[in-house]
């Protein structure tokens, strides 16, 4: 047995197949890297945690207030708990947001191994291809891709290095770095390995919007990653995702700002990467491999947490859930305030309150909406940055209640 391990320790992997930028099928990669492929495939499991996990339950049934808050936006039709990478393409096909509403090709940017399509359409120029595919109707773009998020989206087939491929991230992060005074930032040449263990995720786990009628996926980061910095970006751009069906306010829909919230937390500050918790190392015989079953760390606490925290697994779960419970209660309080404001504006219209009052109330709904959604759409229920999440919700409550006051 020991002799096994001593031998294992010497063996690395064998190149059974040659991988190229066009090898999108993970099964092919699996032939060279069976351990990681086995993990990747387990991402079809569905197991639930108190606030997360990988069962695609319907969030609108769980919290009916969201139907009011999103009135008029596709999210009011269908909004589910997200699950593993292996589902990223099929879940997109199946959501009512796609079935009942026209969506652009932009959606594919983060849900499929889309780079070969960008390259083909752009005649080699991925940025050109990116713009062309984004502008297509979803159905048309969909024909160009076959795989969900997979190996080639995070790895260079030539040497297995982590690398960034997504145009929207390259552009958005460069703008962010420029705002910080760093010119022409390129993660593929300038980021450390530890940084890459988060940046590969930040290609997709971020807030975005579709700029212009060519629907280009854009990350609103040039002023910074904090909620108020993103807010002032949208103010300057004069952008709204949709007009609220019940109040007429121009509002923002926030999506999965995991990278942005994590950036404000103590783990990011301590250099703890997404992959440290979501893809912890596991020992396979004498080898250490990254667990490619990317999932909730609370389903894998021993490996995800105990390497750094010398406390029992049950205690670490309790700590995480205490943070999440606090966030969830405050989030619920903030949603109540926001719904009260929506009701007030509805009642206010059309007679009663002056147009100046209405404008003020709608502005405050916009500010509250952005903040409530920043925490609600973020998928760790505040864990990634506990105090920051609570701070944001405290402001959201203030804006929503001030909106009600503006109408009297």
């Amino acid at each position: 047995n020991v002799s096994d391990r001593k031998r294992e320790a010497l063996r690395t992997h064998f190149d059974l197949v040659t991988l190229t930028e066009d090898t999108v099928d993970p099964a092919e990669w699996g032939k060279n890297f069976p351990r990681q492929y086995d993990g990747y495939r387990r991402a079809v499991d569905t197991e639930r945690t108190r606030y997360g996990g990988s069962e695609a339950f319907n969030r609108l049934d769980l919290d009916p207030r969201l139907k009011r808050i999103f009135a008029g936006h596709p999210f009011s039709l269908d909004y589910r708990e997200e699950r593993g990478h292996a589902y990223s393409l099929s879940d997109q096909d199946e959501t009512e947001r796609v079935k009942q509403r026209k969506q652009p090709g932009s959606c594919l940017h983060c849900h499929s191994s889309v780079m070969p399509a960008y390259r083909a359409q752009g005649g080699g120029d991925i940025f050109k291809g990116f713009e062309l595919v984004s502008a297509m109707p979803f159905a048309e773009g969909r024909k160009l891709v076959s795989q969900p998020v997979s190996c080639v989206d995070c790895h260079d087939p030539a040497n297995m290095q982590l690398r960034i491929t997504r145009p929207a991230f390259l552009l958005g992060f460069r703008a962010y770095k420029l705002g910080q005074g760093v010119k022409d930032y390129d993660p593929n040449t300038m980021a450390t390995r530890q940084e890459m263990r988060s940046l590969v995720c930040a290609q997709c786990h971020v807030e975005y919007y579709f700029a212009g009628d060519r629907r280009i996926v854009t990350y609103p980061w040039s002023k910074g990653l904090k909620v108020e910095e993103i807010e002032s970006y949208y103010e300057e751009a004069g952008f709204s995702d949709w007009t609220h069906a019940e109040t007429g306010a121009g509002v923002i829909k926030v999506q999965h700002p995991e990278f942005e919230l994590w950036s404000q937390g103590i783990h990011a500050r301590s250099g703890v990467a997404c992959a440290d918790c979501h893809m912890p190392y596991m020992r396979e015989g004498a080898l250490k491999v990254s667990d490619h079953h990317v999932r909730s760390p609370l389903l894998n606490i021993e490996r995800a947490c105990l390497a750094c925290h010398p406390f029992p697994a049950a205690e670490m779960r309790a700590r995480a859930e205490l943070i999440q419970d606090r966030t969830a209660r405050l989030l619920s309080r903030a949603e109540d305030a926001l719904v009260d404001l929506i009701n007030a504006i509805q009642r206010g219209q059309p007679g009663g309150s002056s147009s100046a009052q209405l404008a003020a109330a709608r502005k405050l709904q916009r500010q509250a909406q952005l903040r409530v959604d920043f925490v609600n759409a973020e998928n760790s229920m505040g864990f990634h940055a506990p105090q920051e999440a609570a701070r944001i919700l405290g402001e959201a409550i203030d804006f929503a209640r001030q909106g009600q006051l503006a109408l009297r």
């Binding site: 047995n1 020991v2 391990r5 020992r283 004498a286 021993e302 490996r303 105990l306 750094c308 010398p310």
Partner: protein, 151 residues
Amino acid sequence: MILGRLHLLAGLAIGVMGGLSLFTFIYAQGFSYFSNDPAACANCHIMREQFDSWLKSSHHARAACNDCHTPHSLIPKYWTKAENGWNHSVKFTLQNFPEPIRIRPVNARKLRENCIACHLELTGDILHGATPGQQADCLHCHSGVGHGPRR
């Protein structure tokens, strides 16, 4: 009758496992437990991480594995070595230990005694201040001395 067979099976199992572990114990230079050479501990790749981190730690010039992890007085020292050596060999053979590896409370206690053994002068006063049977827990603040910070 049935009972008897069970005993036989159990006996067999123990025998086989014992044999295997003994093999491990020898092959993996389990007797290295009785040596003071840190490299000996690293004979198990399982110990590699602690070995590497110890090399970088504040103490590697001052204390080797056994200075911290086994009692300094002779009899307990070899008893601990035998006990741990056997435990670890068995677990290594069966691969049935929880990871990441964590120091067991019993070994953490021996560890603390070793801290104090070397630092008695320095800590005399804070030990004096202590409630009987409740020494200051060195590891509460200094868990990094042997292997650097956990992160």
